[in-house]
């Protein structure tokens, strides 16, 4: 970082002292701004490692939270719940999201296209807790709290992100590739599915992973859909726990032990999101 600031002033001797001072001042300000941007992430990591790392052990991954006031226990219920719900949410988010992205990119002259674009944009702006409320009134009121309801809320949150990235990476596929397919006498749907979509696959995977990272930390839409469960649950029709839910409950608890568990859960969550983002970046760079 410092090197880039220095090389910004080549042939320094030709500059007047005032200009050199101005250059240094601006370089310093930019460096400061950069540090301010990076600082929160570093602070979060340091805080969570200091507070939570001690609680990460074998029990953390294999046991369920201990009753309030007792020591020990882990977040196995939340880890398994998050994995299940994110997997189910991906199915919804990817199926609907990729289809929507294909529609917006490949059928720009379709009469429904402006409507779909607008709905997708509005959907992207809907607060997570509202999405939870919608699923609550649609599903939970009839079938009760369930992992499936939580997955739906998360899947709806993923959808607009996947739509947008799919549309954008499909538009990066050169038009001449589509023309080459059509000129071979292949129907448009075949050209789209077998030629254009594979060419954009790397970017779509990146988009899905970023969407996953984005919703993995959401507690609000799960509060009244998945609800939470202090036992390990592998049945999606029953209430299910998730990492953000346990973090919320632990952090608002009066007991140190629960707070420590919450911070360990947060550390795990942040680490997973961080790794997902890294993987997503690598997947997009490989293309």
């Amino acid at each position: 970082m410092t090197t880039s600031v220095r090389t910004a002033a080549p042939a320094g001797r030709t500059l007047s002292p005032a200009r050199r001072f101005q250059n240094m001042l601006m370089g310093g300000l930019i460096l400061l701004a950069t540090l301010l941007v990076v600082a929160p992430l570093i602070l979060i990591f340091f805080y969570l490692i200091r507070e939570g790392l001690g609680a990460i052990n074998l029990d953390f991954f294999t046991k369920v939270p201990a009753p309030e006031g007792e020591t020990g226990g882990g977040l196995a219920n939340a880890i398994l719940g998050s994995v299940q719900m994110l997997a189910m949410a991906s199915v919804i988010g990817v199926l609907v999201g990729v289809s929507g992205g294909i529609f917006l990119s490949e059928y720009p002259r379709h009469p429904l296209m402006p409507t779909v674009r607008m709905i997708s944009d509005v959907l992207a702006g809907i607060p997570a807790i509202v999405m939870g409320l919608v699923v609550y009134s649609l599903i939970v009121l009839q079938f009760g709290f369930s992992g499936f309801a939580g997955s739906m809320a998360l899947g709806f949150l993923m959808m607009p992100i996947v739509v947008r990235t799919t549309e954008e990476v499909l538009k990066l596929v050169p038009q001449t590739v589509r023309e080459a397919g059509l000129a071979l006498g292949l129907p448009k749907w075949l050209v789209t599915l077998r030629i254009v979509l594979p060419a954009a696959a790397g970017g779509i995977v990146t988009g899905v992973m970023l969407a996953l990272a984005r919703v993995a930390g959401e507690a609000a839409p799960l509060l009244f859909t998945a609800f939470g469960n202090s036992a390990i649950n592998l049945d999606p029709s029953k209430p299910m726990s998730a990492l953000p839910l346990e973090i919320y409950r632990g952090a608002t608890s009066a007991y140190d032990e629960n707070q420590r568990l919450a911070k360990a859960g947060a550390l795990l969550l942040i680490t997973l999101i961080f790794l997902t983002s890294l993987l997503a970046r690598r997947a997009s760079r490989r293309k």
Partner: protein, 252 residues
């Protein structure tokens, strides 16, 4: 002999703007036909009308009749997908399918249309690659990504891909404009062999290329087909003074 391609009073519009005006043109089987003219003269627009590529362009409209082997390309009830299957096309820049191997690219027109017989696909791939003078260079790397080939090889791969579906006519839109002289020479050499199996209509900016490779030449200017004739005649004794001005390099 009836011409393989026959255009009658073809007018092409982009919105209100007319790009091609009242073109009549016959193309005989087994010949190479060059469309020449300065940029924006309508030669590429006309070429893309032959396989209905304008169907994809918003606002583009084709009027008149284009007969391919006697059948109206724009006739009612003609499926553009079936029509394009009979017409091959090679584009300005090489455009192999990026995620496919060399082999898959060549047979993509057949494989994606549902032909699964590996032995037959292999035979077609070899025949097409030989037809495009690429077989010797790629026979040991058929399963490697097509994007690993050089630009000139990629363009010959695109020719092979077009040949694999045995088109009745092959449209080439400035196929060598993005290639170096050596690759250009290879593709020009290829054309005299290709006309034994198909008919070629080639758009070119390069008059020398038209003179070298074609049997007949059509000179377009501002959307009009100014003159059409045997290539020798067009280049040595053009009937229209505009043609003469262009082929002698006074404009364009």
């Amino acid at each position: 002999m009836t011409p393989i391609l026959s255009a009658k009073n073809v007018n092409i519009y982009y919105g209100d703007k007319q790009a091609v005006r009242a073109v009549d043109l016959d193309v005989q089987r087994g010949t190479v036909n060059a469309l020449i003219g300065p940029s924006g003269c309508g030669k590429t627009t006309f070429l893309r009308a032959i396989n209905r590529m304008h169907d994809l362009t918003p606002g583009a409209r084709v009027e008149g009749t284009i007969l391919l082997d006697g059948q109206d390309v724009y006739g009612s009830g003609v499926d553009p997908v079936n029509m394009r299957r009979r017409v091959g096309m090679v584009f300005q820049k090489p455009n192999p399918f990026p995620t496919m191997s060399v082999f898959d690219n060549v047979v993509s027109g057949l494989k994606l249309a549902g032909i699964r017989d590996q032995k037959r696909l292999m035979e077609i791939a070899e025949r097409s690659l030989r037809g495009a003078a690429l077989w010797e260079e790629v026979k040991d790397r058929l399963k490697t990504p097509a994007t690993g080939l050089s630009g000139g090889q990629q363009q010959r791969l695109c020719i092979a891909r077009a040949l694999a579906v045995e088109p009745e006519i092959l449209l080439m839109d400035e196929p060598t404009s993005a290639l170096d002289p050596a690759s250009t020479a290879k593709i020009e050499d290829l054309m005299s062999d290709l006309k034994k199996v198909t008919t070629i209509v080639i758009v070119t900016h390069n008059m020398h290329q038209a003179a070298r490779v074609s049997d007949t030449t059509s000179f377009f200017l501002n959307g009009d087909l100014v003159e059409h004739g045997v290539t020798d005649q067009i280049f040595t004794s053009p009937r229209d003074e505009r043609t003469e001005a262009y082929v002698t390099g006074r404009f364009g």
